[in-house]
């Protein structure tokens, strides 16, 4: 098992943000985590990345702690909040993608890798522009390139679809799926948009303080916290294909 999250609880200002969270993730598996804003999704990501210490429980990677495991992690932060990202500083896209490389090799080797991933994400024409000049969709692709360049074994994407149009969303999800297949990357995708979950998604988790894991998207309909993941007045329907969708009101 690549990732084991065991009985994680997290309390902030006397409020339980996460309560007894446990799940596993193996190589090549994808886990979608859906939940409302304030449901603890980003807190859980920060705990997995060792940016926050849980009040109880532990995260085990390859039977070790994160620092001991030396695992290659790719992380894509949220586009809208872009917590911690200050895009006023004019950094070229090339250097941002280069930052994702763990072991800096020769300049030529790095350059080849940067161009290879840029080509895949269709951003090779942006490579010498500065990040602050890009559109939301372009920024998301650049940050995804930084997350993917190191061939991560564990990929964590926090709301990868936020602020993107349909074409950008599909493009990004296709790339992630291709990488998962080819490199057997274990992937966690955090989203509040249930309609993003593909039909073939095997595991979906609803997170609202507690976690409820479902092995098929259509089990979501019976999830006790699913209504909390949607805005008021919305309802989930399944397509004939079995893919969940949200609708605004039933006619």
């Amino acid at each position: 098992m690549l990732l084991k999250v065991e009985n994680i609880s997290f309390i902030y200002k006397n409020e339980k943000i996460l309560e007894d969270i446990s799940f596993n993730l193996d190589k090549g598996e994808t886990l979608f985590i859906i939940g409302p804003n304030g449901g603890g999704k980003t807190t859980l990501v920060k705990i997995i990345l060792s940016l926050l210490k849980p009040d109880s429980g532990k995260v085990i990677i390859n039977e070790q702690s994160l620092s001991e495991s030396k695992i290659k992690i790719g992380y894509l932060p949220q586009l809208i909040s872009h917590e911690g990202i200050n895009d006023k500083i004019k950094i070229p896209v090339y250097e941002i993608i280069e930052q994702g490389l763990d072991n800096l090799k020769s300049k030529k080797e790095n350059k080849n890798k940067i161009f290879e991933i840029s080509k895949k994400l269709n951003i090779e024409n942006l490579i010498y522009k500065t990040f602050n000049k890009l559109s939301g969709g372009q920024k998301q692709r650049v940050l995804l390139a930084r997350a993917l360049i190191n061939n991560p074994e564990l990929l964590i994407l926090d709301e990868p679809n936020t602020g993107l149009d349909y074409l950008n969303q599909t493009f990004i999800f296709d790339i992630i799926e291709e990488i998962r297949k080819n490199q057997q990357t274990a992937t966690i995708i955090i989203t509040h948009d249930i309609s993003l979950i593909p039909k073939k998604a095997i595991r979906v988790a609803c997170l609202y303080k507690k976690i409820h894991i479902h092995n098929k998207p259509d089990e979501l309909l019976e999830c006790p916290v699913i209504n909390k993941t949607m805005e008021k007045g919305m309802e989930i329907l399944l397509h004939g294909s079995g893919k969940p969708h949200r609708i605004i009101e039933r006619h």
Partner: protein, 258 residues
């Protein structure tokens, strides 16, 4: 005049680099705050008859680190704690100086500074310090740029970003102490912000921004000193700042036209 050109050139490097950091990290209040906080230390040094700059440097570095610690722990902007410590340290300084009865020329020179105050030993210290900051920046320029851009990612990569921030604040605090003798407590925030802000407006890449910031601080210093050399009624510190503000307004017009 040659010696002033040399001093201006030497101090342009730390000023330009730090100004770039302060502007991009948006912590403009820090130069103002630390200079005022150092005032308490300078006063203590005067009373104890220990080098005021030595005591001032210790107080400035400790206060800078304490402010950073409190703002990181309290998850609030540094500016709030700087505001508190600025008044606190100035108050202590004024009380100490009043008690000692050492009001006079020394204190006035700390408040307003003058490039004429510089001694040979001070030039050597400034030279060593400027070279050290420049070399450190050249080595760590990418890490520093990414610390401004996305510190969380550096943290995920296993870099101790808090230690990095404390080190940078300590370096800024020491630079401010060295510059107080030239620029004075009142004028220091101008010289620490204007070069970075102008280059922020007119450049398109952070590396060019640093080079421009260094060049602009040199231009500001040399123009201000030259004007006060020709027109003896103009004191150097305030003239440097007035020249800088004119440059800033011009750069703003240039940016709008772009």
């Amino acid at each position: 005049m040659e010696i002033f050109i040399l001093i201006s050139l030497i101090i342009s490097f730390p000023i330009g680099i730090i100004s770039f950091f302060i502007v991009n990290k948006q912590i403009g209040f820090i130069a103002e705050g630390i200079a005022h906080i150092a005032f308490g230390g300078l006063a203590l040094g005067l009373i104890l008859d220990i080098s005021p700059f030595f005591v001032g440097a210790i107080v400035a570095v400790l206060s800078g680190l304490l402010i950073t610690y409190l703002s990181l722990k309290g998850k609030v902007s540094e500016n709030l704690f700087i505001g508190v410590f600025l008044s606190f340290s100035m108050s202590i300084g004024i009380i100490l100086i009043k008690l000692s009865g050492k009001y006079g020329v020394d204190l006035f020179s700390y408040l307003f500074g003058s490039i004429l105050n510089i001694t040979d030993s001070h030039i050597i210290y400034i030279f060593i310090f400027s070279i050290s900051i420049t070399v450190l920046f050249i080595i760590f320029r990418k890490k520093i740029a990414f610390f401004i851009f996305d510190p969380l990612f550096l943290k995920i990569k296993g870099i101790n970003i808090n230690l990095m921030y404390y080190t940078i604040v300590a370096i800024i605090s020491i630079s401010i102490i060295y510059l107080i003798r030239i620029m004075g407590i009142i004028m220091i925030s101008g010289i620490m912000i204007i070069p970075g802000l102008i280059s922020f407006f007119i450049t398109s890449n952070y590396k060019k921004e640093v080079l421009f910031s260094i060049s602009i601080s040199f231009l500001m210093l040399i123009s201000g000193i030259y004007l006060s050399y020709i027109y003896s009624f103009l004191p150097p510190g305030p003239t440097i700042i007035i020249v800088g503000v004119i440059f800033l307004l011009l750069s703003f017009i240039f940016k709008k036209r772009k």
